[in-house]
Amino acid sequence: MTSIRPKSGTSSADSKKKGKGKKTQPPTSLEKKVSQPDHPEDIFPLVLTSATQELFGCRADEDVTQENPYKLLKKQDIIEDIKAKGAVSDFSPVKQIVLDYPEEEVLLVFDRDFLYGQCFFLILTPEAKEKIFSPPESKTPEEDENIVSKTPEPMQWISLGSEKEIEEESVKESREKLQFRLSRARKKFGSSAIFSDHTAYAKDNFVEFVSNEDSRFSIKLMQRDCGVQAVPSLQSSSAQTQWKFQRNNYTQYQPRELSKEDAESLLKSESLKNFCNSILPRVLHALQQEEIMNVFLDDWKALAAGDETTDWSRNISEDLVLHQAFTHTKYTKDKKVSCTHWHPSIYGVIAVALREKNAEQLDELPIFGTRSGYIVFYSFSDPSNAQLLLESPVDVCVFDFCPSDPNIIVGGCLNGQVILWDISAHVTHLLGMPSNSKTSTTSKCDHNDNKENKTPVVRYCAMSALESSHKAPITDIQWLPPTFEVTRSGLPVENKHHLSVQIVSCSPDCTVLFWDVRLPKLLNQAEPDRKQHMEQKPLINPHAVPETFKHLDRTWKPLFKVSLPKIDTKGDYAPLKFSLQNYTCNESAGEDDKEDHAPGQAPNENNSVEVISDYSQLRAPSARTHRALEDLNTKLFIGTEDGEIVYTDWKMVKDDSGRLHSSKPLFCINVHHWLVNTIQRSPFFKDIILTTGGRHFAIWREGLMDGPIIMSPSSELECTVGCWSLSRPAVFFIGKEDGSIEVWNLLENTTEPVRVNAHVTNDRITCIKPWTGSSKQHFLSVTDNLGLLRVFEIPKSLHTPSRKEISKVEKCFELEKQRLLDCLKKKECWAKEKKEMEDRHMTKEPDKPMKFLENKEEADMKEYSDHLMLEENVLKRLGSAVRA
């Protein structure tokens, strides 16, 4: 292989260029196809030093290059070089060859690629040289021609024995073809033919040549062409592995992390830098936004300062909110509430007095034991059960708690008697369960059961003497405040013990009675007898009645009696309600007061606690021993059956004969025209009184005798009860007969109510009492004709007073007063004028007035008689109905 390449290489190179050089090489035969291990025979690899190269002008890469590797060297030069250098000469190995070289020039070829091991080689034969230089030129075109032309020339056929086979196979005629001619006899042409049916397969009709085996021709099949195909046999089958060995498998992975170098390289990368630059403004913007303000802040929520604000926004309504309703199935059935009071000291305890609805007549006196009146105590903690029952033989119309000792309750009965109860034994029960459970730990369950089943019933302690009581049902009863006492003559004196011991009651029998719970002094002598009496006969106390007022029982007589004679006419007023001025004695003011007190006496509050109401030991004082209170206002406002407001003094005056009798009332004004049901003093002003009755209510000022300073417009419904608000001086509540409550505010409107809470109850309202439960909770108890007690919560707006409300209300009253006075003056003026007019009229016509008067008289008489007739008729019709 190696031999061919250089040849072709050299030949191709030779065709392009012709080098000149010296020939020193002897020719050697060049054979193309002979390959030798390293180099062909006709070349000789040679190393030439740079000096030799320079000498011969065949420097590597300068004179001779890859493209031009041939250098003809002169034989003579080489021989000279050999001779000059001797053995050191580069040409020494080829010395002999060069010497034998026939031609003058020897070809030296630069072998850049070291094909033959050295950088140069010498062409040893001239023939080779020639071949390098000349012949290949012609060769290559020939070769090209050969390659190009594809049409082969037909070659002469050489027989290789195939014609014999052909001859054997070919078919030739071995002899001449024989000819035969067959024909039928002429005469037989055209003869009639006879056709008949024959069966095809009958034996005679055909000649059968059955094939039979000829033994001569048994050919043995020596060779048979067979084809074989391998077909894979397919079979579908399945296999299922059973998971016999269950094994828990888990994988744990780990997040890919960049190696340090990778990370660093990335950090340095250009793309990251660009990234950072591009996102920086956005990120800073967002961060700053976050820093500036919180976009998700809910301003509304942040504004709210707690539950108060939210409640406040909701609670716009100023209605009375029903807090609790109390009723008792047994005791309130078919009864109406005649009176209600809050317990002065215990929170959430209300007492209601129930009486029969229909029993209004005095005639129907209850028989002892069959029908008894009750005062029912309710508590907030237990709305469905009554806490306590105060029993009385007669229906109780009114009652009152003693101001100094809330355990004493006085009641006014339907038959005119005054009745007393003492509930000190049951106070703990009223206070609530915990106190009771402490006392009886052993029988706790029983105690509770008892309580649930039976409400404790307290029987009355004492009852007034029937003869000396009122003749009509007591309509109002009050304790005198513990600040003063009243003597037998009605003189107010100081109350040393600061106990409320006196009671005032009024009744439509035209009397106001003063009672004292203490024994009168006169009975002092009989005291030891009494005591003995009591010891001898220990009265069996079946009902465990407390013995507080044992001394009074059945012998109780009023202290004194105030009658109310009418001012102008004969007869008396029939009081329904009264109001007296509360007197606050100035203990702290004057020193002389203190001197009068017995030394060592504690102030009011202690007294009522320390001195347990041993009323039997108390004695009514004589007028002389106690100091009379001069500045006390002894006058009463009384509301009568006919709707008049009477202002009278309860002090007895001595008339000419020296006997004490009641003075005549100072004034009387009929405003209401019907039963007066409330007279109440304002808790803020001593001299402002609210009265309700008929279709009006009126506000009076004590001292102003001429009339009410404020008079309400006539309402469609009857005003059944009225009461002042305890916390706001200008607010009061009016109850109506249809069960609605009107709230009036004097500062806002004097002609119409601020708010009407319609249908607070289903029936006529009988009693309203406000109460301050706590600073936030103000209650209003409302009772009705059906025996129900409802407790309402007064909304905040109605119980929180506005700024300087008192002074404003004062001003209001002043204004009203002024107005009233002005009104009255004007009336007077008008009256005067009218009179003058009439007088003038009279003097002018003396005659006519007589006739006129006469005529008038006649007309009047006629009218009167007509009226009388009408009255009779009406009365006749009414006569069948119930008499009043």
Partner: protein, 99 residues
């Protein structure tokens, strides 16, 4: 070297901002490159937010192919997470709100 300083500088500037709790720079594969948090948190943030960002971006582009996600802010009770995707990288910044 100059390039590295720029990146460092930028990141330092962000980290120095008020309320910033930490930053994470994430490459295209979701591997955190550089972080100021501890490694496990960084890896967690990177993994979770990469997913979410891709989802967000695909949602934005689904609606409007011309559009692209520029910024993603997740506000939670405790802090706010801001993600800015760009150029195959992701920058996550966690900041405490100003209240």
């Amino acid at each position: 070297m100059a390039q590295l300083a720029d990146v460092e500088e930028t990141l330092k500037r962000i980290e120095a901002h008020k309320g910033v709790i930490g930053t994470v720079v994430v490459n295209a594969e979701g591997i955190p490159i550089r972080t100021s948090l501890d490694n496990s948190s960084a890896v967690q943030y990177a993994g979770l937010l990469q997913d979410l960002t891709m989802r967000a971006r695909s949602s934005v582009r689904d609606m409007d192919p011309q559009n692209d996600l520029t910024f993603l802010r997740i506000r939670s009770k405790k802090h706010e997470i801001m993600v800015s995707p760009e150029n195959n990288f992701l920058l996550i910044v966690i900041q405490n709100p100003c209240e």
